[in-house]
Symmetry: C2
Subunit: 300 residues, 2 copies
């Protein structure tokens, strides 16, 4: 996972990002810094965070060069990645605004985009053009600076949901930064992003957790869990994810979640009816559509 | 996976099963034969099946010594494993009954047990004591004799649901055969088995397939599948399973499936309400119960 990334973009003009700041130096932010450093595309890296011990560890690990306050990052950095929970974004941006340099480009890594854009507009006002909303679709169970991995974004998708106010230059900087991390960058409308992510990321988490809760609270939970096998293992892996993080994501993406859930319930109703009626043909059609789609999905 | 299994049970008296017959020499039946042969616990292995080419391949692979008719297997074998779809069991047993030797013990590998027991009683009448219902909880995406693997059952659970008519000797033979394959053998009541399996095996398959069908038939399915990541990959892996096999399992285990599905729907209703109401506390409690249970589940 740590193969060197090409650094051919670094010409005589120096790195793409002379000063990078990362707010939240954990898995997401730390990996971004590590990947850009490995690609030779950053000069100095500033780290912002509430946990001093964690920031000190990030310095030790070489992820950041120094820990600074959010205001200082806003004043000094060419690019700031906000890798904080969606719920805390507005406060951090408000803190940054008074000292936000004109040339500083802000971007984020939040899992939902409509709410993020709303919060950023509220915090930044007429400086909103400096904020390019983004979402790297990558993650892992691990957290903290130790989890940072320069290879985390290689061949992973990063979605940008550009605002009308974004300058071509700001958008280009963010795009090139992610590409330097090895990612494939896509542009989408924020609502489309939220709908698609509700479908392929948030809903599987909800269904896996709902199912797991039902099993775990059954009177014979012990026997069930003893006899569960490899299908169960894979189906429930994501249910182990951070409850706080997923609560925030579900609430942040409420409308899209409810719409997608209604869609899945419609199919579940059909399946349940087919089982109750002993309708093997309807059941087979449904299972066959699912199996074909899964088998044809990108080769792993 | 092919470590030699201990064969210390084979004393001067010869192998545990002088003549073994396997009906359906695919992944399940072929692996049973291979494991017992590797353990030195079988003399001759007979294979029964409808596909002559597949049986010839099983002989080539050394899984079976000869292909025979079901009736001959009933007359000659000490132990017969019926590794056929649950729906075909009654017909095979009816075919065997006229020539079933008194000393022959029959067992099966069906994923549901109440229906299997009913079918076996109907086919065997007062010879039902010779049939010991069983279910090895092991499987894989692969099928056919090529998929057979002597290590498939190592450290996997095999559940027996003994009948009052089973003799201690018959039950013991089946138990020792599975133990010789490296499996952990549990006894359960057939209804409890069906309920637990509906919960930890059948329902995850149904939910995964239902979800996958909804994604695959969405207008923007292409975009969704393009942006799906590792959570999606694991959550939907089981949706690729054989539609015919799972249709049969769902219908065979209808009552338990519907009962467990009602339980999961109850939790889903709570989760949906919490999202709709923005009730972060209720959502967190639910997600936390699930995450704790999954993290505490057997270490993988």
């Amino acid at each position: 996972m740590n193969d060197a990334l090409p650094s051919s973009d670094q010409g005589a003009a120096g790195p793409l990002i002379p000063v990078l700041a990362v707010v939240g130096v954990g898995l997401i932010g730390g990996s971004f810094a590590a990947a850009l450093r490995q690609a030779g595309q950053v000069g100095r890296v500033l780290g912002v965070g509430r946990n001093a011990q964690s920031l000190a560890r990030a310095v030790e690990l070489g992820l950041i060069d120094e820990a600074v306050a959010a205001e200082d990052a806003a004043a000094r950095a060419d690019l700031v990645l906000l890798a904080t929970p969606v719920g805390g974004l507005k406060d951090v941006l408000s803190l940054m605004l008074p000292r936000l340099a004109e040339g500083t480009v802000l971007t984020d890594a939040g899992s939902t985009k409509a709410e993020v854009v709303e919060a950023a507009r509220a915090a930044l006002g007429d400086r909103i053009g400096q904020f390019v909303p983004g979402h790297p679709i990558a993650g892992a169970e691990r957290t903290g600076p130790e989890a940072a991995d320069a290879g985390l974004y290689r061949k992973r998708a990063v979605i940008l949901t550009p605002l009308p106010e974004n300058s071509a230059g700001s958008l280009d900087l963010v795009r090139r930064a992610w590409q330097a991390c090895g990612a494939d960058v896509f542009d989408m409308d924020a609502d489309a992003h939220d709908r698609v992510l509700a479908s392929v990321s948030h809903l599987p988490h909800l269904l896996s957790a709902v199912y797991m809760e039902q099993v775990a609270t059954a009177a014979d939970a012990h026997t069930r869990l003893d006899l569960a096998g490899s299908g169960f293992r894979d189906f429930t892996r994501i249910a182990a994810g951070s409850p706080e993080m997923w609560r925030d994501i579900f609430l942040s993406n409420r409308d899209a979640m409810l719409a997608e859930l209604a869609g899945v319930r419609g199919v579940l109703d059909r399946a349940e009816r087919a089982i109750a009626d002993g309708d093997g043909e309807a059941l087979l059609t449904l299972l066959d559509t699912a199996a074909r789609a899964r088998r044809n999905w990108r080769k792993e």
